[in-house]
């Protein structure tokens, strides 16, 4: 059995009289150690699918299998626990906590994931991950003094420091220039390989598809295998 799979996921938004079927029965399983890219036209439902997969909103219908459990029947507290300790998140904007230093952002994530380590070991782990994303020299900086690409590196570090099984990324490179975007893509791919993470990434930038293992195209509420 796969680590993460979706079966017959549908989502209907109701706006007053208007009913909009954004997802129409999606079947998709993700491979461990691979970056799966989700691409498609704007408004095709990529973000909707990703946030449903990540337990941030409910599907209208369908089942989400994660690690032998069914996410769709869990209580919101159970899902929160899974998000905290088994999922990692990267978004278009880094969304760092403005009043915490780079190091503190990561220590916070270790607390949220309830990782039981001595303080000194936590700091060591933070250093290791920051070195991995090339941000160890900005350990005590606040987000306001970092560039967009640097913030995104810290966000990636925050998304993986607690060793999640699944990494969700929604347009992680959309706010960066092409050189920085490639750096971030390479980073995500390497991390996915080296830590055996299952990564689902949304992007509408065709250039970035080169750095992923598998491409899924969304058209009209359904998914199709694509090529990179």
């Amino acid at each position: 059995m796969e680590l993460f799979a979706m079966e017959g996921i549908s989502k209907t938004f109701i706006n007053g009289e208007l009913k909009e079927d954004v997802l129409k029965g999606i079947n998709l399983s993700l491979n461990v150690g691979e970056v799966t890219a989700l691409t498609g036209a704007s408004g095709s439902g990529k973000s909707t699918l990703l946030t449903i997969a990540a337990g941030l909103q409910d599907a209208t219908d369908g089942i989400i299998h994660f690690n032998g459990k069914n996410l769709t029947t869990m209580s919101s507290e159970q899902i929160r626990k899974i998000r905290a300790s088994e999922f990692g998140f990267v978004f278009q904007f880094a969304h760092l906590v403005p009043f915490l230093t780079v190091e503190e952002q990561l220590l916070l994530m270790l607390d949220v994931a309830e990782i039981k380590l001595k303080k000194i070991e936590k700091k060591k782990e933070v250093n290791r991950i920051l070195t991995l994303v090339g941000m160890d020299h900005r350990k005590s900086s606040y987000p306001s003094s970092l560039s967009g690409g640097e913030k995104q590196r810290v966000a990636i570090a925050r998304a993986i420091i607690h060793k999640p099984k699944v990494l969700f990324a929604d347009e992680p490179t959309a706010s960066l220039d092409s050189k920085r975007s490639i750096d971030i893509m390479v980073l995500i791919r390497d991390i996915t390989k080296n830590y055996n993470i299952t990564t689902l990434m949304v992007t509408h930038d065709e250039e970035m598809l080169k750095y992923t293992d598998r491409v899924i195209r969304m058209v009209d509420g359904l998914v199709f295998a694509g090529s990179n």
Binding site: A84, F91, H95, V97, L108, Y142
Partner: protein
């Protein structure tokens, strides 16, 4: 990790402003409350310092004790049945000092008791405030309605009635000045539940204080200011935290998305609120106690530590409620909407 602390460290100015506002409002509250208490002593120290008990005046006096005349049979019966009961009368009047200057005083006389000063005919014991105005022990005072003189025997602290210093005189002298043989009031100390006596109406100490016309008016307006300030400070908290929370909707959404518990976000807010309030109140308590010891003698200011602590607890409670009400937004934030909103 203590996020609240980190946030306050990073945004010192913001929290310093809130802290100083809480400090100023609470200091003002303490000072007005000290003034209310001081004035109430100045107005009715004579009654306030009595042990709890029951006052009796005639029903037909309709709450105006100086219209009350208790007949001697009733008085004798009550004094015999309750051994520490005391009959007393209070009347505002004038006394002339040695240089014939008229001073207003409250003449008080009572049957034998430890609760009120006892003097023999031709003597008087005065409130300390008259000593500060130059009257000395041994001075001879007079009253226009009285044939004789009063020798000042001594002074006592904090005996005021209706803002006038009290003059304790003997019952004979009182009866001569006011041409009456009846006492106005009976006070039975340590009587918790009022006992019925025909033709008499009972009042607890607190109820009796309210019958002093200036007393209730004064206390009501000052206490209203105190409560007003407390409510204002609660609203300040609510508004301030509301504004801070609104700015952070996006951040709260992200934190929820990565798995931070809503309760942790509330705890973060409460910590900030408690730290700011406790520090501000601490400074304000110190300030008001300093004011208490430095306040000029003539200023009726009396602030006990107990009152300050009580008010402080109310401040904390109100701040807590204010912050919590404003924090309901935290509960409502959806992780999703924050993610889609862009940079925080």
């Amino acid at each position: 990790m203590n996020m609240a602390w980190k946030e306050m460290k990073k945004n010192k100015a913001r929290f310093l402003i809130l802290g100083s506002i809480v400090f100023l409002v609470s200091l003002l509250t303490f000072i007005i409350s000290g003034l209310a208490n001081g004035l109430s002593h100045d107005n009715a120290g004579l009654i306030k310092d009595l042990p709890p008990g029951q006052f009796y005046m005639t029903e037909d006096a309709e709450e105006m004790y100086n219209l009350s005349k208790i007949n001697s049979e009733t008085q004798d019966a009550m004094l015999t049945s309750h051994e520490n009961a005391v009959a007393l009368s209070i009347q505002l009047g004038f006394i002339n000092d040695e240089s014939d200057k008229q001073r207003s005083v409250a003449f008080v006389t009572s049957t034998d008791t430890d609760l009120f000063e006892q003097v023999s005919s031709g003597e008087v014991i005065l409130d300390r405030s008259l000593e500060e105005e130059g009257i000395k022990i041994g001075d001879i005072l007079t009253n226009n309605q009285h044939h004789g003189t009063f020798v000042v025997k001594g002074f006592v602290d904090q005996k005021k009635y209706s803002h006038a210093p009290v003059a304790f005189i003997s019952t004979e002298d009182y009866q001569e000045i006011y041409r009456t043989s009846e006492m106005q009031l009976i006070f039975i100390p340590e009587l918790e539940t009022a006992q019925e006596f025909t033709g008499l109406q009972s009042y607890s100490n607190q109820e009796f204080l309210q019958t002093i016309p200036s007393y209730s008016a004064e206390q009501m307006s000052l206490n209203m200011i105190v409560w007003f300030l407390i409510v204002i400070s609660g609203m300040l908290f609510a508004i301030f935290f509301y504004m801070m929370n609104v700015q952070k909707i996006g951040l709260y959404g992200i934190l929820k998305a990565i798995g931070v518990k809503t309760s942790a976000l509330f705890r973060m807010m409460w910590t900030k609120m408690v730290v700011i309030t406790v520090i501000a109140l601490g400074i304000s308590i110190a300030g008001s106690q300093l004011f208490n010891s430095l306040a000029p003698n003539g200023m009726p200011f009396n602030l006990s530590i107990q009152t300050t602590v009580q008010l402080s607890l109310i401040f904390l409670l109100i701040g807590f409620i204010g912050a919590t009400l404003s924090g309901i937004q935290i509960k409502k934030v959806e992780a999703l909407q924050a993610i889609q909103q862009g940079e925080v």
